[in-house]
Amino acid sequence: MKPSKKRLITVLSVFVIAASISFTVLAQDTGAVLAGAELTKVVPTSYYFQGQSAPTQMRNAAAARFGTNRFVIAGMVDTSGYSAQVRARYQGFFITDSAITIGGESLAIGAYGFGFTNDGKLNILDLAGNQVLSVATTNDKELKRPRPLMMAMDGAGVRFYAGRDYVVIAAK
């Protein structure tokens, strides 16, 4: 094989590999909702909030991946061990390992609690129960089979649902 031809093949190979990596990254950057083993791998089985830990309701847990290894994870916990006051505000955990926007508001990396309210808000709480942010939710009347908690793709972002109410989460 002539050197020039060999160089051409090498260049082409590098280009193909680079292109495929770029495509993969681009594809992953669009985000994905996790399911099955991928989901159980990232969801904690219990969660600390405001003085105690409670088991996760795995059936009501969801997670999304942004890029190759950036995750947003949420799950309802069994709040039966909490006081009525805590249960009125706290439904479960919300973890993000990258900066995101949630309902258009910025949220830094961290582990939080969350609670949807019947007046159309999602409250994000720190682990001491203090409100970090509060965003308005959207009601999705067309949703065919709502769940207590789930995530679904919405363009480049992810809809974070509780029943028919949702907010959009996007990577920053």
Partner: protein
């Protein structure tokens, strides 16, 4: 429609604040939260009312539809735990069955009783279940001892099925403890064969159901499990609370559970050719590894493919719908079918289960009772294993919210050809009577009239039976006096039962069907389609032979069709449990007839 969404929104906002297991200290129970979360189980929200909405609701202009004729059963007194209801097992007993155990043509009554911790420890005599033989003319004779069915365990439910195809109906009695299978010996006595045949389920068994899921002609048995309780390590009780370690309902100490307590899996027993049973729960895919809190179940044809499917109603967790794949296994489709949750994606605290085709479209629908501050739920079967929550559209939503429902059954009380609905209610926390929460411990039952698929609550005249409030649990339906009007029996917690005689004046014609199959002989899993009015307005009704459901109870398996003004049956089709279909000619109406498989003609 706008009103519907407003109501839905109201319901959607109800928060989970009860059945809790609080371990926190230094709380301020009386402080009312400013907003309510939406997630979790829909089982109650703090609210203050100026009057109770579950008792004393009367209408002087309403007709008297039922009268109380309890005297014959008045010696029976149900008892379950102490009055304070310190533990969850004090609260959900017990069931009732209407069935003709001796084959004399008159349906009899079997009432489960509860028990006490002292009785379990041998420190006092245990409460006894009771079998009442129907003598006719509203006279009943207690034959419990003669029949040998006192149970004397912490009774929960009863499911009737002729498991050995000998023509005599047997009873599976579920207990908090060890369950029993009472084999009907055919001479007025029963023998507990549960241990011998391999169905002596331990733990906390609830609303069982018989059905031949694999088509071998022998009945199989499904038993839901509720909560795993260790009597040596009881959860905290409000009576023993030091004030810092208790479970709460609206800030008030109450018994703990089910949330926060471990659940139990479910059990499917397959009957082998030798008459013994084997546990095939895991193999069949119905073992409930999530350990949801099972309360009610029924084998029933959901997709009408001639294979019996299975529905399981769970407390505070999703409901399960198992579709029979025909190879000895089931596929659980609760979520995709729409059965698992209500229309807003909420898990509910399911209790009882009514099975019936309320809108006469040929498919079986489900009504399920729930906790107070949440509505009961009506699932319409859309076909192709899809269900829609139509509770509010059907008129069953708002009215049911203050009630804590238990037994529920479709019952055409006025014989107009449309299935009405009867619901038994009663709270689990005696503490509710000390507060203005809009609910009460004893609650009125609810009767809804079905008007072309929409339900209207029937009023209760002052002083009438339906104006009374009871701590209801089990419910059974049957024509106890043979007058063609369906009567009711309610088993009340810590109280005497109630027998309600149907005295509705304006009722239509009717037809009763006793089905005798080849195998299973009692025709469980068979479906009857009855058509009337071919010349005056066609009405095609469906009735299923179902074991169990209601709430830990058993309706008389005689199928009852209201015919309205029709004086003849145009067509009667039977789809037998073994898959065969036949058409039968029916001569006359206003009577009970026996239909035997193999004696009809091909459709």
């Amino acid at each position: 429609m706008r009103n519907f969404f407003r109501k839905s929104r109201l319901l959607f906002g109800l928060a989970p604040v009860l059945l809790s297991f609080s371990l926190l200290t230094a709380q301020t129970p009386s402080k009312k939260p400013e907003t309510q979360q939406q997630g979790g189980v829909s089982t109650g929200a703090p609210a203050t009312y100026t009057s109770r909405r579950t008792t004393g609701i009367t209408d002087p202009n309403a007709p008297v539809l039922f009268e109380e004729v309890t005297t014959a059963l008045a010696n029976f007194h149900h008892r379950s735990g102490g009055a304070a209801k310190d533990y969850i097992f004090d609260t959900p007993s017990g069931g009732v069955a209407i069935f003709d155990y001796d084959g004399d043509g008159r349906p009899d009554i079997y009432l489960l009783n509860g028990s006490t911790l002292a009785a379990l420890q041998g420190k006092e005599k245990p409460p006894r279940a009771a079998l009442f033989h129907n003598l006719g003319n509203w006279k009943f004779e207690e034959v419990t001892d003669k029949a040998g069915v006192a149970n004397e365990r912490w009774g929960m439910g009863v499911a009737v099925g002729d498991y050995d195809n000998d023509g005599h109906p047997d009873m599976y009695v579920t207990n908090f403890g060890v369950s029993r299978l009472y084999h009907n010996n055919g001479n007025g006595t029963f023998t507990d064969v549960a241990e011998k045949l391999g169905v002596a389920r331990r733990g906390w068994s609830t609303g069982a159901s018989w059905g031949d899921y694999d088509g071998d002609g022998r009945l199989d048995l499904f038993v839901p499990g509720y909560v795993a309780i260790d009597l040596n390590k009881l959860p905290p009780s409000p009576s023993e609370s030091s004030g810092q370690n208790f479970c709460q309902f609206r800030g008030v100490p109450v018994m703990c559970g089910p949330r926060g307590l471990p659940g139990e899996g479910d059990t499917l027993y397959h009957q082998k050719p030798d008459g013994t049973f084997e546990d095939v729960s895991v193999k069949a895919g119905v073992s409930d590894p999530q350990k949801y809190y099972g309360f009610s179940s029924a084998f029933v044809h959901v997709d009408d493919d001639k294979l019996l499917d299975l529905i399981v109603v769970n407390d505070s967790t999703p409901k399960q719908l198992y579709i029979n794949k025909g190879n000895g296994t089931f596929e659980e489709i609760g979520y995709p079918s729409g059965i698992a949750l209500n229309e807003n994606g909420r898990e509910q605290a399911g209790m009882g289960l009514a099975v019936g085709d309320y809108d006469n479209d040929g498919r079986v629908d489900f009504h399920i009772t729930n906790f107070s501050d949440d509505s009961n739920v009506l699932y319409h079967n859309d076909g192709d294993t899809n269900f829609t929550d139509v509770t509010f559209q059907a008129g069953l939503g708002e009215v049911s919210i203050p009630f804590l429902g238990w037994g529920t059954s479709f019952v055409d009380y006025d014989n107009d050809g449309w299935l009405d609905l009867f619901v038994v209610n009663g709270h689990v926390y005696p503490q509710v009577d000390a507060h203005q929460w809009g609910t009460s411990y004893a609650q009125q039952a609810l009767l809804f009239r079905n008007v072309n698929g929409k339900f209207e609550r029937m009023g209760a005249p002052p002083g009438s039976a339906l104006a009374n409030a009871w701590p209801g649990r089990g419910l059974a339906v049957g024509d106890l006096d043979g007058d063609g009007r369906l009567d009711l029996v309610i088993n009340n917690l810590d109280s005497t039962p109630v027998v309600l005689r149907n005295v509705a004046a304006a009722t239509g014609h009717w037809l009763g069907l006793r089905l005798v199959g080849k195998a299973p002989r009692d025709a469980i899993g068979s479906v009857a389609f009855l058509t009337t009015g071919l010349t005056t307005g066609k009405l095609r009704q469906r009735q299923d032979v179902v074991s169990g459901a209601v709430y830990c109870s058993q309706n008389d398996m005689t199928l009852h069709f209201g015919l309205g003004a029709a004086t003849k049956v145009d067509k009667l089709e039977i789809q037998w449990a073994d898959g065969a279909s036949e058409v039968f000619a029916v001569a006359g109406v206003d009577k009970v007839i026996t239909i035997t498989e193999g004696k009809g003609s091909r459709p």
